[in-house]
């Protein structure tokens, strides 16, 4: 029972030669980037053709206004997934924090900073609860966050029993502003989000996220504080999700306690299309942002392509599955192995 000589790790089944492994790693690291870039080019081109006025200030502003909330949720989910978890409650966190914000704000500009701070704090608290349950209680993330989604969704209903409330004018007006003739504020915020992610990634905490998601056991033996990193990942994710709630509020102008679950699906779809591995340890928020852009554009395309109303959902769902399958096919990389291990 001597701790240093723990059970020897089982030999890796059919390990390819180091050279082949390195080669396939390069290929699999690059392919998602190609895939998402290709998808982005295709969707942007199609949107520009079908949607007249896409490249005007107004067109860009309204496009980015709908992209930002989804992209922010996708980034939040990415942080959690990278650390080896998943958060099915993220949509309800968004809902709760936007509900808290809108109720405290009451359409009053003077209350704006405090209301946003409270909303973000609520999101961080939800993330902390998730993190403690997953990392300290060691429950399986899927079922644990499913359970907490009831708690957060219920809390959102307590705060805001029915859709309503009004955001402060400053918030909604700033969100619709266009700077320097062509740059909408949401696009700028998206850029800031990405830059903050790059800083986080370069920081030790970012490295820890990848390490823990790649192999919790190896991280543990390398003195990475695994439990703390997991709690931190969920807390960060909750905080970023709260920001998405504020963005949603700024976009729609009022709160809605029932939007949660669709947002969860969107966040997971966006990050997978963006090339983040659902098992953790590989990918990044940049891809998730691009994935969110692609998804939003496709949703707009289905609308503008003149598809009958009743068929829109099916077409959108089909395209989304196809995009996910494409990303999955390219991300997997390497030769097929017979019994793919768990």
């Amino acid at each position: 029972m001597s701790p240093p000589t723990a059970a020897p790790p089982a030999p890796q089944p059919d390990t390819p030669s180091p050279l082949a492994r390195a080669g396939s790693r390069v290929a699999s690291a690059r392919m998602p980037t190609y895939a998402i870039t290709g998808l982005l080019v295709v969707t942007v081109a199609a949107t520009a053709m079908l949607q007249s006025g896409f490249f005007t200030a107004y067109g860009l502003s309204s496009t980015f206004a709908t992209i930002l909330p989804l992209a922010t949720i996708a980034v939040a989910q990415t942080i959690i997934v990278l650390s080896g978890g998943i958060d099915l409650s993220i949509g309800t966190i968004v809902t709760l924090s936007s509900a808290v914000t809108v109720v405290l704000m009451e359409g009053d500009n003077a209350r704006l900073p405090l209301a946003i701070a409270a909303g973000v704090a609520a999101g961080a608290a939800c993330g902390l609860v998730n993190g403690l349950i997953v990392a300290v209680l060691r429950l399986q993330p899927i079922v644990a966050t499913f359970a907490t989604s009831f708690m957060f969704g219920g809390a959102a209903l307590l705060v805001l029993p029915s859709p309503g409330g009004s955001a402060s004018p400053v918030l909604t007006e700033t969100y619709r502003m266009v700077l320097a003739l062509i740059i909408p504020v949401p696009a700028l915020l998206l850029l800031i989000l990405w830059l903050v992610w790059r800083i986080l990634r370069a920081h030790r905490v970012g490295q820890y996220l990848y390490a823990v998601g790649g192999s919790a056991a190896a991280s543990y033996t390398s003195a990475v504080p695994v439990t703390r990193v997991r709690v931190l990942a969920y807390t960060l994710g909750g905080t970023v999700a709260a920001l998405a709630g504020v963005a949603l509020l700024a976009d729609s102008g009022s709160g809605d306690p029932f939007i949660g679950n669709e947002l969860t699906l969107g966040s997971i779809a966006a990050l997978v299309i963006g090339g983040t591995r659902l098992r953790g340890g590989a990918g990044g928020a940049g891809g998730a942002i691009l994935g969110a852009i692609v998804l939003s554009l496709i949703q707009g395309l289905v609308f503008f392509a003149g598809i009958p109303t009743d068929a829109r959902e099916l077409v959108y769902g089909g395209i989304m599955i196809a995009a996910i399958a494409l990303a999955g096919l390219l991300t997997a990389g390497g030769p097929r192995q017979p019994g793919r291990t768990a």
């Binding site: 890796q12 429950l139 809390a155 997978v272 068929a311 999955g328």
Partner: protein
Amino acid sequence: MSAPVTGGPTPVAERPDRGTRARALLRDPVLVSGALAVLLWATAALISPSFASWGQVVTLLTLASFLGVIAIGQTLVIIAGGEGIDLSVGATATLAAIVASRYMDGANDNLPLSVLLALAAAAVVGVINACGVLFFRVPPLVMTLGMIAVVYGFIRLYTGGQPAGSAAPLLRTLINGDTVFGIPGVLWLWLALSVLVIWILRRTSFGWRLYAVGGNATTAYLSGVNPVAVKFSAYVLSSLFAGIGGLLLLGYSENVFLRLADPYMLPSVAATVIGGTALIGGVGGYLGTIIGAILLTVLDSFLRIVQIGGGEWGDAPRQIIYGAVLVVVLSAYGRQKRLRQ
């Protein structure tokens, strides 16, 4: 990634002393969930005596049966491993109910044909899920989440937003009809399906192969099992059982509506996990899922009985408590291993 086959805490071989055996019993998910369900039921009965009546117990079990049947497929997929999970069961059940009700149209004439068509539609969903997961290597969670959008999109196109028809009288009698002691037919159906599934899992070669693939797909492959075929059938079976669940719901509620079976999507996973089937695959069984489904239903009814929720607060407090209790139940034994062993 050679996932160690964690065979659960059940000690084998050498005879365990009484302490370990008692501890093993305490950690047996089926026992813990069963005890908790009985405890909840007894507490509810103390608060509201009508809860203890035979009729109320039968109602509880009837409500649990829909979740139980839908969770059959979920259990199979999760046992098959490889991060297997089927979140599209709710959408698939709704699809089956909608297709069946349209062809039945309130008459018995087309009953066999409409049941067949409904199950075929469900099977198609399963085949697509399986293809996505096995050939395009989409993670099961994402594939089946995405299929929810596709299936509901199809339902929208198929119905134009307004589901038509209603259940055949014969189906209604079969589900709701009184047999003995006020037990409706659906409970006998659930019992028959349960026996069938438990027999398949424990006594047939398919069941053994399912556990083998879930435990370690590489080992199973090297032992002559075709993991792809096994997982493929698991996904198709999952959709088929979801379809059967949808038909039962149709017979019970007589009419369909969009999102009929939506509330069963994640509870089917929760029931499976509460019943001791591990999400890593290869461990568990359907008996636990039955208990899990009953526990979740009792919990929901309990919170309704004690009048939490309702009134000025609406559903909110009940939701919060439901979530909190779920966390507590799961932490009783659904915990993962410590990093330092």
